[in-house]
């Protein structure tokens, strides 16, 4: 299968996604320039992390107007898989392909550290290879990662099992201390109503090799590969 990795001006996870997908998982990957609109030929679109347009305005607020994002919206409406990581998650929220927003971390500092994600929903395109409640060790790196949504949206997300990952302790306890940014309900990743768009703050492309400290990110990539 072939992954398409979108590159906005200021994106930096593109290279890491490319490396992990092609060198570790042995799949095809290609970059998609933010001005390109032809997504045919790709089996999954990746919106990687970084600081699109410098994130000088609200994160993702400018990137959502890129020509490629219209194509991504069309692509997702066809039920095809889209994964937004970190800045990619922020862009998906700004583009209304996912509900809610990512606000500044509650401690008002950038945070780069390992986090432990409890897998809440394993029946998605992105988590089918995970066990129920499996804890994944995947790092974060962001300043605006505090998931927030209105109470009714949050309730809908919870009621329809659209919260895919929560920040937890290494043993899987969902606690305030395990929450690195103040996200509501410890939310680290959510999925769209149709189940084909995932947004997550942690970086699965950084945890695909033992030498880098974890291979848990592979479970997400392998789930996507298995679904195609």
């Amino acid at each position: 299968m072939k992954f398409g990795i979108v590159v906005f001006p200021g994106t930096w996870s593109d290279r890491d996604c490319y490396y992990s997908i092609s060198n570790i998982l042995g799949q095809k990957a290609a970059y998609i320039w933010h001005k390109d609109t032809d997504l045919s030929g790709f089996d999954c679109i990746v919106l990687p992390g970084g600081f699109s347009y410098g994130d000088y305005l609200r994160t993702g607020a400018i990137a959502r107007f890129s020509p490629v994002m219209e194509a991504v919206a069309d692509y997702s409406q066809k039920g095809r898989p889209v994964i937004g990581i970190c800045n990619g998650f922020q862009v998906l929220c700004e583009a209304h392909l996912l509900p809610g927003v990512l606000r500044q971390n509650d401690h008002l500092q950038y945070r780069c550290q390992w986090t432990y994600l409890k897998t809440i929903n394993t029946s998605t395109t992105f988590t089918s290879k995970c066990q129920q409640d499996q804890v994944l060790k995947i790092p974060i790196s962001h300043y605006e990662g505090r998931y927030y949504a209105d109470a009714d949206i949050l309730k809908e997300l919870e009621d329809t099992s659209r919260v895919v990952f929560r920040y937890a302790t290494p043993s899987g306890q969902v606690t305030g201390e395990a929450n690195p940014n103040g996200a509501l309900n410890n939310i680290a990743g959510i999925i769209s109503k149709q189940g084909n768009v995932l947004g997550m703050m942690p970086h699965p492309e950084r945890s695909c090799e033992d030498i880098l400290g974890s291979t848990d990110g592979n479970l997400i990539w392998e789930s996507i590969i298995a679904s195609i």
Binding site: G54, Y110, S141
Partner: protein, 728 residues
């Protein structure tokens, strides 16, 4: 043009230097020319006080591809056609005046030095020094600097893998902010900062030119602090997004054959970029400042040439390829403008539309005077170097635990995670050893190799003994990389000193350089790049002489790398190196923290240092070691405790101290490494140590939850962890 005292002061040139300019040109310089000279002959660009001394540094080695001064950064060959380039640079004065932007643009500048050469920057480190955080202004500076480093670096997608931070009163009026950047690339794709080929075009790319940063090099970096309070406008404002675009665009350009060179606009902006590129290329340049895109109206030629607006580069484009180059930058939504061309007359010609405002030989502009002094050894050093232990009470055995906790919580020793968790240290998918160990380790993708990076420089040691302090700065940085399993390859450095016109400061600079040179020769780590930051003083009081060494080592197979954390219950812990003596207490953290004294010279035997390092590297390459940790600040007890804390596991052992207890526990005797091995490997380690002529002492066993040294300390590791974790 008769020059006034005020004009000369503004650009920090002496009357004597002005007269030399007149003599060399055979006439008075124009206003713009004077500005060019002020920048190029500043200490920051021209190294006029340090050049003679810097020649002492060894800079040759069979793998050294680019030596200091040749290009923007030094480059070494790591085999298989791959190269690594790195450099360290200071941004001390700007960071004092405006900490966030000062530190941010420090990062921006050092990163440009790397990608200008066609190398992809993959790692950053920072070496920081502040006054004690108990003072609110120091906290403000600290917060601003850390924020600026993170704010700029995180946006670039370059892993910031740590570095070191120290606190001392002497840095209160003069913090140190040194940034260290490393990049990788292919030998055949290196780009030079040269302008050659008559008729080739000079393109200015990236940001527009504004009035920010005027006199940064001459005014800010070449004076002492009480003079610079009013110079806030000399600090630049960074735009990391623009820099990120420049990185990608320039690296793309580096792979083409459309250009002959690239040079970033750093200190002294367009002035140094154009003159240096012309000098290196043996050519001349003809520039029209009217063609330089500007942020504001009414800027003079003088201001355009001296602006230090960030995120700008000059590209020397082969004639006929300008359309292709422009299209490349357009794609990245970056400006690119032809501002002049290369000439063969070895002259720098600056035009302001139709009018020539400067026309001077490149060689005269780029040949500042070199000052040599014969400093006398300051008499006060004798008293300082003498450590009178008879006046210092040894530790009563019952107090050991309390003192250990105090040391672990001390700002100079405690965990710096509150700082480095604000930096993205994993982007790039290369970081194998995260910040917090002795050295960071980054693998080189698609090879079995890895690079180890460490920075070090103990100002207190250098203050008490500038020569040995210089030796130890190099030795310890090398030891840190050796503890990760890397063979130390080469260094970069940043020499942070006071006003070199003073005898004592010049003496410190001279001795430190001599000491560093000696260690570099012995450890076979040539100096491939560096930076000198002088005039670091406030109200006439200089900082501790603080040379910071950035060491880079090579790990042949990343599978065999090592960290400082204890790993397995039952592992046996050994000390490699001499057990240490009373000299180890000299200028130690313990002596200052517990007894309030900064005195007594450390000692070091470079022969032993080399043997210990070679032994530990070999042991790691053979897969014998489960951990290796340099025994430095806080001595043996602190090093053991740190290995426990980082591994989340206990230790129990004996301290066979014959002499003073404080020496044995907290002395910082050099050339010592604490290692742990599985019981089955112990014999092999001992025989390896014997072969390398390295003394080896069994200290105890890893395991349990207590940290215990029989008869002296018995504390839960969790308690040590808490002190260390929450110290900052």
């Amino acid at each position: 043009m008769p020059v006034s005292k005020e004009q000369l002061e503004e650009i920090a040139l002496s009357r004597k230097e002005y007269n030399l300019i007149v003599q060399k040109l055979g006439r008075e310089p124009t206003e713009v020319e004077l500005g060019l000279f002020g920048s190029l002959w500043s200490e920051h660009c021209g190294y006029k006080h340090s050049k003679a001394l810097l020649k002492l540094f060894p800079n040759k080695g069979k793998y050294v591809l680019i030596k200091p001064g040749e290009e923007n950064a030094g480059v070494i060959d790591i085999g298989d056609g791959q190269v690594v380039g790195f450099k360290m640079e200071s941004h001390n004065h700007p960071s004092y005046i405006e900490p966030y932007q000062g530190a941010a643009t420090g990062v921006g500048g050092i990163v440009r030095d790397i990608f200008t050469m066609g190398l992809r920057p993959i790692a950053l480190m920072n070496s920081l020094r502040f006054g004690p955080l108990s003072q609110p202004h120091n906290r403000y500076l600290f917060g601003g600097v850390v924020g600026g480093i993170g704010g700029y670096g995180n946006c670039l997608g370059i892993a910031d893998v740590g570095g070191e931070i120290y606190f001392d009163d002497c840095y209160t009026g003069n913090p140190l902010v040194n940034a260290f950047c490393l990049g990788t690339g292919k030998a055949g794709e290196l780009v030079r900062g040269r302008a050659s080929g008559e008729g080739n075009l000079i393109m200015l790319v990236g940001a527009d030119t504004g009035r920010d940063g005027l006199h940064g090099a001459s005014g800010l970096a070449s004076r002492t602090f009480e003079e610079v309070r009013e110079l806030r406008s000399a600090v630049q404002v960074g735009n990391p997004f623009m820099e990120k675009l420049l990185i990608e665009a320039c690296l793309e350009l580096a792979k083409t054959d459309w250009i002959v060179g690239m040079q970033d606009c750093g200190a002294a902006g367009l002035t140094s970029a154009t003159v240096e590129a012309a000098d290196k290329g043996g050519s001349g340049m003809d520039i029209d400042v009217q063609k330089v895109p500007r942020r504001e109206k009414g800027m003079t030629a003088y201001e355009v040439m001296l602006s230090e607006s960030q995120e700008r580069m000059i590209v020397i484009v082969k004639k006929g390829y300008e359309g292709k180059v422009r299209a490349l930058f357009d794609r990245w939504e970056l400006h690119s403008d032809i501002i002049g061309m290369v000439t063969s007359d070895r002259m720098v010609t600056i035009r302001d539309g139709g009018q020539v405002v400067a026309h001077a030989p490149v060689e005269i502009l780029n040949t500042p005077p070199v000052y040599r002094f014969r400093p006398k050894r300051p008499a006060w050093l004798d008293g300082l170097q003498n450590l009178n232990l008879s006046k210092i009470k040894d530790i009563p055995s019952g107090q050991v635990g309390k003192i250990l906790l105090k040391l672990l919580a001390a700002p100079n020793i405690c965990s710096k995670h509150k700082v480095y968790r604000q930096y993205d240290h994993q982007v790039g998918d290369n970081t194998v050893v995260l910040p917090g160990s002795d050295a960071a380790v980054l693998r080189i993708q698609e090879t079995p190799k890895a690079i180890s990076m460490a920075s070090d420089g103990n100002g207190r040691y250098c203050y008490v003994n500038p020569f040995l302090g210089g030796v130890i700065a190099v030795a310890e940085a090398a030891r840190n990389t050796a503890c990760s399993g890397a063979r130390p390859m080469a260094i970069t450095n940043c020499l942070n000193f006071g006003n070199p016109d003073k005898n004592d400061v010049y003496y410190q600079l001279q001795e430190c350089i001599k000491g560093m040179s000696q260690a570099c020769k012995k450890l076979k780590t040539p100096v491939i790049s560096g930076n000198v930051s002088l005039y670091n003083e406030t109200r006439g009081v200089a900082i501790f002489p603080t040379p910071v060494v950035g060491m880079v080592g090579l790990i042949k197979n990343v599978k065999h790398h090592c960290t400082s954390a204890f790993k397995h219950s039952g592992d046996i812990v050994f000390l490699l190196g001499n057990p240490g003596d009373d000299a180890g207490l000299g200028s130690s953290e313990y002596l200052e923290l517990i007894h309030g004294k900064v005195e007594g010279s450390q000692q070091i035997d470079l022969e032993m240092e080399k043997q210990v390092q070679d032994c530990v590297i070999k042991a790691i390459e053979r897969g014998l070691l489960n951990s290796a940790h340099d025994c430095s600040d806080g001595g043996l007890a602190v090093a053991l405790a740190e290995s426990c804390i980082q591994g989340g596991i206990g230790f129990s052992g004996n301290l066979n101290a014959k002499g003073r207890l404080d020496t044995a526990l907290f002395g910082e005797s050099q050339s010592r490494i604490i290692v742990s091995v599985s019981p089955g490997a112990a014999r092999r380690l001992e025989s390896l140590a014997f072969r390398f002529n390295v003394p080896v002492t069994r200290l105890g066993i890893v395991g349990g939850r207590q940290f215990s040294l029989k008869g002296h300390i018995d504390l839960p590791v969790s308690e040590l962890h808490q002190a260390w974790w929450n110290g900052l």
